[in-house]
Amino acid sequence: MEILLFGIAKDIVGKSSFRFDADDLVPTSVSELKDRLKGSFPEFGKLSSLAVAVNSAYAEDSDRLREGDEIAIIPPVSGG
């Protein structure tokens, strides 16, 4: 399962994407993914907000993650 990273999320992790492999504990929901990120990188807990997109649309915390989904971490947006 590949996770895309943008903006400050990319800086926190140090790369523009990373993978959970089959022998990792692959997160099964948006909230589980957020908790895993905050556990591994405490900087995520300090952001103003943290959203996840699944297949290029905002996802709810309760949404399930499936292998093959395009998953992205959306730190606070600041367009305009």
């Binding site: 400050i8 103003s48 997109a53 290029s56 649309a57 947006v77 600041s78 367009g79 305009g80």
Partner: protein, 140 residues
């Protein structure tokens, strides 16, 4: 309406064509907002801004916003266009606009387009100062 929307992410915004693009025989009013790079943030001199985007999602969100605006108000044309990459002071960053029969609808729609874009569209802005750079709005 969908044929009358122009939703784009571009390297450079060309402001010279936007009124012609929004023109429509049934539109008596066209309202356009342009966001540009300001020289100072909280009294600190900004050298440049850098924009990055999650493009496929940003385009989808921009389109949703244009559709929402067209459902809320009777609009004949809508433009939402955002730039990415490095931008210097006074360079355009975003342009949004709407045209409608009367001015009320295009003003309120234009404001909705930019306010909602800033809330939802996955675009990130880094301010480059002399001695540091900051992802805008990242921290409380």
């Amino acid at each position: 309406m969908k044929g009358n929307m122009s939703i784009e992410i571009v390297d450079v915004i060309d402001t010279s064509t936007v009124f012609a693009e929004l023109s429509h025989p049934h539109s008596g009013g066209i309202c356009v907002f342009l966001g540009a790079v300001r020289e100072f943030t909280d009294n600190e001199e900004v050298l440049s801004l850098e924009f990055e985007t999650y493009k496929i999602m940003a385009l989808k969100e921009m389109k949703k916003i244009a559709v929402e605006a067209s459902e809320k108000w009777k609009l004949n044309k809508v433009i939402i266009r955002h730039a990415v990459g490095a931008k210097n002071v006074e360079e355009p960053v975003v342009i949004v606009g709407a045209s409608s029969a009367h001015r009320e609808a295009c003003f309120i729609a234009c404001r909705y387009l930019i306010d909602t874009l800033k809330e939802r569209v996955p675009i990130w802005k880094k301010e480059i100062f002399k001695n540091k750079s900051v992802w805008v709005s990242a921290h409380p």
